[in-house]
């Protein structure tokens, strides 16, 4: 299919982007990589009146460390984040997750922020944002606000981005070098979307788990932190009993629905399998 007609602007600065959004309001959509938006436009399931491309905003193409945060600008392509040494050093979980996102050609063009703004329930990055306690930077004519990931991610394809706002950056919490992390997911084979997955990071001191963050995707309408599973790990030796407790907690924390890809029971079962797998594989040297 072919997209419906629209107007196009490509400002060269964030200020101009915000201005364009203010001018066009709800009729406008941001075009970054377009790898989630354009398929919907081709099917005419999305039909913005105005596309505001941020692809000329070089100021949004940055990866930087700021205090305890790794900040990824809105124009950073997934492939660039995947291969960035700063990402590997400061947020290895993000680097671990990115190869699972889409396909090479879509990662070449799709942006980290774009995937978060799209908020697909099967996307990896929202779960990574939860596990990395990310803050989403929303910029509008009124200024800037920072929203924690768990408030940003509202429901399937729904975020707390308001009319006139652009997701200008995401600030992930830097991981401590002693941390371990993993991304585990399962798909039905084929391409593109997994059935479900988990993003995990944790830290131990002298054999005792002192911190755990676990988030799952594909188990509900939006990515979800699994705090009970985290709690089952913290204070434990991460041995089989603790892992079993975390697995059980993860399964009871989720309330998936079935769809054509998998039934609800499987998704619930799977989140446990993947929590265990992530902990074991992430711990492997």
């Amino acid at each position: 299919m072919k997209p419906a007609p629209f107007s196009f602007v490509a400002p060269e600065s964030l200020d101009e982007v915000v201005e364009a959004l203010a001018r066009h309001g709800d009729d406008a959509r941001i075009l970054a990589g377009g790898q989630s938006l354009v398929p919907l436009m081709n099917l005419r399931l999305a039909r913005p009146e105005v596309l505001v491309s941020i692809n000329r905003c070089r100021e949004l193409d940055y990866i930087a460390v700021s205090d305890d945060r790794l900040v990824v600008g809105a124009l950073v392509r997934q492939i660039d984040a995947e291969t960035d040494p700063l990402v590997a050093a400061e947020c290895p979980l993000l680097a671990q997750a990115l190869p699972y996102v889409g396909l090479p050609a879509t990662r070449n063009r799709g942006t980290v922020c774009g995937s978060l703004a799209h908020c697909d329930p099967l996307a990896e990055l929202p779960a990574v944002a939860l596990a990395l306690e990310a803050e989403l930077v929303l910029t509008s004519a009124a200024g800037e606000r920072r929203v924690p990931a768990h408030d940003f991610l509202v429901a399937e394809m729904t975020t707390s981005i308001d009319e006139g706002e652009v997701l200008s950056a995401v600030a992930f919490k830097r991981q401590d070098p002693s941390e371990q992390s993993a991304l585990a997911e399962v798909s039905n084979g084929g391409h593109v979307f997994p059935v479900g997955g988990v993003a995990l990071r944790w830290a131990s001191e002298e054999g005792v788990c002192v911190m755990a963050r676990i988030a799952a995707f594909g188990v509900g309408s939006v990515a979800q932190r699994l705090t009970d599973a985290e709690a089952a790990l913290v204070g434990s030796d991460l041995g089989p009993a603790a892992i079993a407790a975390a697995v059980a907690a993860a399964r009871s924390a989720v309330d998936p629905t079935g769809d054509i890809a998998a039934d609800a029971d499987y998704r619930r079962h799977l989140v446990g399998v993947l929590v265990e797998r992530g902990l074991l594989e992430g711990a492997a040297p």
Binding site: V192, V195, A262, H269
Partner: protein
């Protein structure tokens, strides 16, 4: 294997009263192209991006573009259609509805002559009622594809949704709505067959093994969507380019349903980006496109998008099989009962009809086994789903999933190895030719040999020994091995189609050999390629049979204006029917060359040897003429008079209708690992031993096998076309309808046995479908074997992680 081309020649000539090498004037000496992995002529321009698929053709500048308005409902009454807003849009030329088209195109219908078949028709655009989600109700004609789609959005259709049927089981409920007015009780067809001794067989049986098998609906998904371009010419003539596999059948149908003279139509098949059977259907869009080009007197083009492709291409395999085998204590099948129900969809699609899978499964399920008592009932039902027709393998992936599943269940019951049960029941090569219980003759084959060789290649015995020693669950994975030994229907002739009620499906194909004035050779054949490498393989056949140099032979196909009629390309037929026709035509041309050469060399035709593009007097190689020198005489381009009784030119045509069917065979063995935690399946080994008779080009045959296996892996493990209870499509994109990727398909071990057909000219058997046919049963059986210790029943596909995980958890 086919390493020895001379050996292959000797075999290949069987069946046509072959002449010994050097037999003058009749035997093409110096054969050797057939049997070689000749690299493809098609590749260079495709690799350069110069291929010309239908959307790549240069369309005239005034071409109009079509877009169809598709029903969002599976079943609804059309209360009204308001096209005024769409028609008012700039760039929209016209908007037409079903009643408009009915004035131009008759209702289309498959002609099936089976007792009890309910004839039914389809309007090319629905009138009054829609019967599946995606059925077109209107068409927008516009100056560009973009504008046509803008117009589609402005067509306002008022529907009254009605209850929809999607499942086989629902269709025959007494209170089910009737899908099609001429199909009472939603039964298109019910066929029955029984031999006399079935009951006695069951009475005598020590064991009765029963199982229900379910197969999900799938569709072929060639990467090139369908499309067509209709270009009016002088005097109301029309050139019609279509991404089709069946250009002659399409032309006849266009003439019939548009009520125009067939002679004014020319159908041309450009490069086609995969067909796999779904492009061997005749679709409403083709009739609409041709009708509008004639009516509007402008070129009209339609290029399908993927959403439309998934909704409106023919589907396949929504089948239920209930199979019972009466078995003695040795595992010998004494009698077989099959109850087959197939979902035919909302209309009986052209040209093969909704009974294709039904009659196919019923006739093919006996496979390579000595089944002497057999009964079936085979039913095709109507539902509010897309029409069902041919997809690579047709019924065979499912009927062999059933019979091969039964073989494994016999083995489990009797504690025998599954391979042993098969060997005990197979027709041994020494007993061939064998006519099976439904009258199909297996002229040659290698059922036992293919199984034994595949077992050796797959290290089957070692695998079993390891399973015995370590158990099936090792390191969190259940490992299993699965076998499918099967017969593969190919090269079906007219009698074969008649046996399935397809009396209007010809069976034969044609070949014309033209030796040009320069001595170069043009071979016309009534086929159309969609990736099979016909330009290469048919040239190999002609080079050998004519005695020409391979590089001097050019193949032309896919054009109703070039060469005579034929049945075209589907059901693994091109090597058999096209090869056979070209062999016959080549022989005629060769004889004429020999006669002319004899006259020129003052010899006799019997003394002329033809080889390598030269003709010489036997024993005197220096008394030789090139094809070109002889052709000059034929075309009166030298001073030599045409011998008395000869006509000008060297242009010879012949036809070939193969026997009932030409039966290929193969064994596939799959080795799988099922993850105990997440239920995912890895294919850790895959072995194929295939027998398609005389191999024309081993490289291309391997390619056909590997591609088919990949599709079979998709079908066995992931592919499923899903309608919800209301008949809404849940798999309208390729993100939902999953295709296997490079990481889902393993490497393969492939070997060939060559048992040349003694019934079919040339000794060739088909190879197009076997890869897929064998893959589905072997993978399903391998997964079942992996989970054997759990006592779970694997009788369905696709075997997705959620399903296998549930079986494992609930064990």
């Amino acid at each position: 294997m086919s390493g020895d081309p001379q050996g292959a020649v000797g075999q290949g000539a069987v069946g046509q009263g072959a002449v010994a090498q050097g037999t003058v004037g009749q035997g093409a000496v110096g054969r050797g192209a057939v049997g070689q992995s000749v690299l493809r002529r098609e590749d260079d321009y495709l690799l350069r991006g110069q291929g010309r698929f239908v959307d790549d053709l240069p369309a005239p500048l005034n071409t109009l573009h079509l877009a169809f308005v598709l029903s969002p409902y599976a079943h609804a009454r059309i209360l009204s259609i308001d096209v005024s807003e769409a028609r008012a849009l700039d760039g929209v030329v016209d908007v037409l509805t079903g009643t408009d088209l009915a004035a131009m195109v008759k209702p289309i219908a498959a002609q099936i002559e089976l007792p009890g078949y309910s004839f039914n028709t389809r309007d090319v655009l629905a009138i009054d009622e829609v019967r599946f989600a995606g059925e077109a109700v209107a068409v927008v004609v516009a100056e560009s594809a973009y504008l046509a789609e803008d117009g589609v959005e402005l067509v306002d259709v008022d529907y009254e949704p009605l209850p929809a049927l999607t499942e086989i089981g629902e269709a025959t409920d007494p209170d089910a709505p009737q899908v099609n007015p001429t199909v009472p009780g939603n039964v298109y067809y019910e066929g029955r067959f029984a031999t006399e001794g079935v009951d006695a067989g069951f009475e005598a049986a020590a064991h009765v093994i029963s199982e229900d098998f379910h197969s999900s609906r799938v569709t072929a998904v060639p990467i090139e969507p369908r499309g067509c371009l209709a270009v009016p010419e002088h005097a109301g003539n029309l050139v019609f380019y279509s991404s089709t596999q069946i250009h002659h059948l399409l032309r006849t149908a266009l003439a019939e349903f548009l009520d125009v003279a067939e002679s004014t139509l020319r159908v041309v098949v450009p490069d086609v980006g995969g067909g796999f059977g779904i492009k061997a259907a005749l679709y409403p869009e083709e009739f609409v496109c041709a009708a509008l080009a004639l009516r509007l007197r402008r070129p009209v083009k339609w290029i399908q998008d993927r959403y439309e492709a998934l909704l409106t291409d023919v589907h396949a395999r929504d089948n239920h099989y209930r199979v019972q085998a009466a078995v003695d204590d040795d595992g010998i099948v004494l009698a077989l009962k099959a109850e087959i129900r197939t979902n035919g969809g909302a209309y009986s699609a052209l040209p093969f009809g909704c009974t294709l899978e039904t009659t196919g499964g019923a006739r093919m399920i006996v496979g390579p086994y000595r089944i002497t008592e057999y009964t079936y009932t085979a039913t095709a039902v109507a539902t509010h789903t897309a029409p069902v027709l041919a997809y690579r393998g047709v019924a065979q992936p499912v009927c062999f999933m059933a019979i091969e599943g039964i073989m494994d269940r016999i083995a489990r019951r009797l504690e025998l190895d599954p391979a042993e049960v098969r060997l005990r029941n197979m027709v041994p090569t020494a007993e061939l030719p064998w006519t099976n219980i439904v009258g199909v003759r297996y002229d040659t084959g290698s059922f036992v040999e293919s199984l034994e060789q595949a077992m050796e290649m797959a290290n089957y015995d070692e695998f079993r020994a390891r399973q015995e020693a370590q158990g099936r669950l090792v390191d969190g994975k259940y490992r299993g091995i699965g076998i499918c030994t099967f017969t593969e229907v190919s090269g079906t002739g007219a009698p074969g189609w008649r046996a399935r009620g397809l009396t209007r499906l010809p069976g034969f194909d044609s070949g014309t050999i033209k030796v040009e004035p320069t001595g170069k050779v043009t071979a016309f054949v009534s086929h159309a390629h969609s990736g099979q490498g016909h330009f290469t393989t048919f040239a190999q056949v002609v080079a050998d049979e004519l005695g020409a140099r391979l590089e001097d032979v050019t193949v032309v196909e896919g054009d109703t204006a070039a060469g005579p009629y034929g049945t075209n390309t589907f059901a693994s037929r091109s090597a058999v029917t096209g090869g056979g026709a070209l062999i016959r035509a080549s022989e005629k041309a060769r004889l004429k060359l020999a006669r002319l050469a004899a006259a020129m060399l003052e010899s006799t035709p019997e003394d002329i040897v033809v080889a390598g593009g030269q003709l010489h007097v036997a024993g005197v190689p220096s008394r030789a003429l090139s094809f070109g020198e002889v052709a000059e005489t034929a075309y009166a381009m030298n001073t030599f008079d045409l011998p008395e009784g000869e006509s000008f030119g060297i242009e010879e045509t012949d036809f070939y209708d193969p026997p009932l069917v030409t039966m290929a065979n193969a064994t596939h063995i799959a080795q799988v690992a099922v993850d105990a935690g997440d239920g995912t399946v890895d294919i850790e080994g895959y072995t194929v031993v295939h027998d398609c008779g005389r191999v024309i080009n081993p490289m291309i045959v391997d390619g056909q096998v590997m591609g088919g296996v990949a599709q079979g892996i998709g079908e066995a493990l992931m592919e499923e076309f899903v309608y919800d209870a209301d008949g809404q499509v849940r798999t309208a994109t390729l993100a939902d309808y999953l295709l296997p990727s490079s990481v889902d398909v393993p490497n393969f071990q492939i070997a060939h046995i060559e048992s040349p057909s003694i019934d079919a000219v040339g000794g060739f058997k088909g190879v197009g479908e076997g890869g897929l046919i064998g893959a589905v049963p072997s993978i399903v059986n391998a997964v079942a074997d992996a989970l054997f210790d759990l006592g779970v029943n694997v009788n369905t596909k696709p075997l997705r992680p959620a399903l296998l995980s549930r079986l494992i958890r609930e064990a």
